[in-house]
């Protein structure tokens, strides 16, 4: 399916400017829980991006795909797989209707991230509508481009607060020839040590995770390289490994069945997170998932004293700020940027920080 509804979306934003109303941008609504809960006041309307969808261009030998923001992620992944390629940052879907726009606006990346890169690393260009209703293009479809500031990457993870994504160009990569996962039973301490050693080695790694007293080592690449690394790493080869990684990425793994708030801690590889709760560790030790009732301050401190930051990923409490507070001057820069891109505060106001 394909349809270009730029004009309609632009009209909606202009109307919101005139009516002084606010817009909540919604793609597949699969990640509605992520970020602050924004006010559902009478002056707030939903703006659906799913009407604006379709792959605009894709040439496998150029390693680039351009698609409208409302395109289902699934559609893109199927198309890439038919050409033996993939989105290298393994975006989580969190629901069957997830769109490309939502993946880029949240900027979330899966287990491959430490070894291949994040969502923002693969964004080459964007077309957006600003909060003034202006259509603009930044970056492009080429791998290298330093003309002008990198507005394309600025959009990644901005949760739609700086502009409505219309189109995104993304660098794609060939699927690895072979992929296997080794599973090793070890303590958390030992697992962290092994992760660090492997992380500094030239083994063909594509994920390192730890949960339930087990270290999971995913190896990807040429068949010969994977086979030889498999011997070196040891442990047992996990059957249905794709399932395991999918369950982690999509949070359908039993670990995520809990009523307690879910925290996501992004920390340095060398971090030592001292908590009673059993974490799910991903990204070679640089990402911790924690279910915890501890206070926001306590969890933020756990992360910040290690040089990282915590996000309150899922919680029943609608009032909490989800992202770690910013230093005053950095916050000022955020406000300045918001004022320029969305001076009337129309787009997803409050979703990232309550005053943005």
């Amino acid at each position: 399916m394909s349809s270009n509804r730029t004009q309609e979306l632009q009209d909606r934003i202009r109307a919101a400017v005139n009516n002084k109303s606010m817009l909540q941008i919604v793609g597949g609504n699969s990640k509605h829980f992520y970020g602050n809960t924004t006010s559902q006041s009478a002056k707030s309307e939903v703006l659906e991006t799913r009407i604006h969808q379709g792959v605009v261009s894709y040439e496998p030998s150029e390693l680039v795909i351009t698609a409208r923001a409302g395109t289902p992620l699934k559609e893109i992944e199927v198309l890439l797989a038919e050409n033996n390629q993939m989105l290298p940052f393994e975006p989580p879907h969190y629901g069957e209707h997830a769109t490309l726009g939502g993946a880029i606006a949240t900027g979330l990346s899966g287990s491959r991230r430490p070894f291949t890169g994040s969502a923002r690393d693969f964004v080459l260009g964007v077309r957006i509508i600003s909060g003034k209703g202006e259509v603009m293009s930044f970056g492009g479809q080429v791998m290298k481009n330093v003309a002008g500031y990198d507005v394309s990457r600025l959009m990644v993870g901005a949760l739609g607060t700086l502009g409505l994504l219309l189109e995104v160009s993304i660098k794609v990569l060939p699927r690895p020839q072979q992929e296997i996962t080794q599973c090793i039973a070890v303590s958390r301490q030992e697992a962290l040590k092994t992760m660090q050693t492997l992380n500094q080695s030239s083994q063909p790694l594509s994920a390192l995770a730890y949960e339930g007293e087990k270290l999971y080592v995913r190896l990807s690449g040429a068949a010969s390289a994977v086979t030889s690394a498999q011997k070196e790493v040891g442990g047992e080869t996990l059957i249905h490994a794709d399932n395991f990684w999918q369950q982690l990425n999509e949070q359908s793994h039993p670990f995520f069945e809990s009523d307690k708030p879910l925290w996501r801690l992004s920390v340095p590889y060398v971090a030592e997170i001292d908590s009673n709760e059993q974490p799910f560790i991903d990204w070679a030790g640089a990402l911790y998932w924690l279910h915890s009732d501890k206070s926001t301050e306590e969890i933020q401190q756990l992360a910040s004293e290690q040089g990282g930051a915590a996000t309150l990923f899922k919680t029943p409490d609608q009032k909490q700020e989800r992202f770690a507070p910013l230093q005053a001057k950095i916050k000022q820069l955020h406000v300045n940027l918001k004022m320029r891109f969305d001076p009337y505060g129309i787009l997803n106001f409050g979703r990232l920080y309550s005053d943005l």
Binding site: E59, E62, L63, V64, G107, P114, S118, D121, E134, V135, M136, F138, G140, V142, M143, K144, N145, V146, A147, G148, Y149, V151, L154, V156, G157, A158, Q196, N199, Q200, S202, Q203, P204, G221, A222, S224, A225, T227, S228, A229, S266, P268, Y269, V270, A271, A286, L287, G307, G308, A309, A324, L326, K329, I330, L333, H334, N336, L337, R340, L352, Y353
Partner: protein, 490 residues
Amino acid sequence: MTSATKANRESLRKQLHQVLPKTSILETEEETHPYECDGLTAYQQKPWIVVLPETIEQVQNILILCYNEGVPVVARGAGTGLSGGALPLANGVLLSLAKFNSILNINPANRSAVVQPGVRNLAISQAAEEFNLYYAPDPSSQIACTIGGNVAENAGGVHCLKYGLTVHNILQLKIVTMDGELISIGSQALDTPGYDLLALMTGSEGMLGVIVEVTVKLLPRPEQAQVILAAFDNVVKAGEAVGAIIAEGIIPAGLEMMDNPAIRAAEDYAHADYPVDAEAILLCELDGSHEEVNEQITLVENLLTKKGAVSLRTSCNEAERLKIWLGRKSAFPAVGRISPDYYCMDGTIPRKQLPFILKKISELSAEYGLLVANVFHAGDGNLHPLILYDANIKGELERTEEFGGKILELCVEAGGTITGEHGVGKEKIDQMCVQFKSLELQIFHDIKHSFDPQELLNPGKAVPSLHRCAELGGMHVHDGLLSHPELERF
């Protein structure tokens, strides 16, 4: 723009002497002369004064003083930039980061290093070698250029196809904003909350803040690396071979192309045993584990032969590998030897447009009567046509610039960009009007003002004023459309 007067500068001079030791201030003709240009020597301008701070506090003090007096500041690393980004201002301060040259910390377990901005690119990899780690982006200027300059330009290198550009290989920056505040952007972790200011700073050409510390990511050295040198009797065939390798699902560590004039110049200079009769060569490097490299070398060799390579040479050891790369990495100075002057362009195009662009460049070369040697980061479609000229011949520089400008416009037409890695600087400011519409340029100015409302950092670079574009608009009518119709014409 700045309205600083002579009196402001006099007052600033006195205050600078109060916050800096005498040896950190250069004022005489003789002392400031080395700073009058960067790697783009066609543009020259002596700075009013040069300061060389040694501490972050001194940088803060300098910026506060300049801010108060309204005097503009240009930051400078090694001055190897090729777009006039570090070109000084006659009424401004040139702030050299040369004394910030320490590697502060290498943390192998975190695969990162904390360095000062004046540290040379290559020095990082050398220091990390004992941990079997390295810093991946490797501009050809890596023995001289600084990491601060690399961040400011989002520098690339021959290994960026597989390992990414500067923006993919840094974690954290400390910057001083124009009002003297020290802030930290990014973090030691992979994700940082808030907007991606790290991406915004990378490639911002010294317009948003002065970088005073950089945390880079380090990578494990690959077990094995080998390079194949393939010769072709036709440039288009070489271009097609590039696409074929990628289509095969292989991402080489580097994939570079040179045409005959570039091959000859490089061979004369570096004696790398390049085939001087070839119309084009491809250098394709594969790295990874022994097994992977062995497997892929055979695959790529066969593919290149099938795509019409007339000869192949594959490095058997590290010395051979480095020798093959030496030719490529010294291509610019090599061309500098065969011509009194050369002008290096930096457009990027979708790979498939390579034959189209090459044909157009050779037509323009004939039209302008100026020779061109072509060096490409072929894997990512980044072209470096080197236009040979003689600045002593009246009018030749102007014709060269016009020719270069046309190449960049062709790149935009082909779906690409006017600069892949060298930046806009002073040089490509007019071509920005071709690539962007007023709305986008206005947002760039807005971003600048979010960081530096008085426009005191590197003013006049990177982003053209809308009026400048409007004036040029008369000359750049595309498809019968003016590019900036909403603005008044003069």
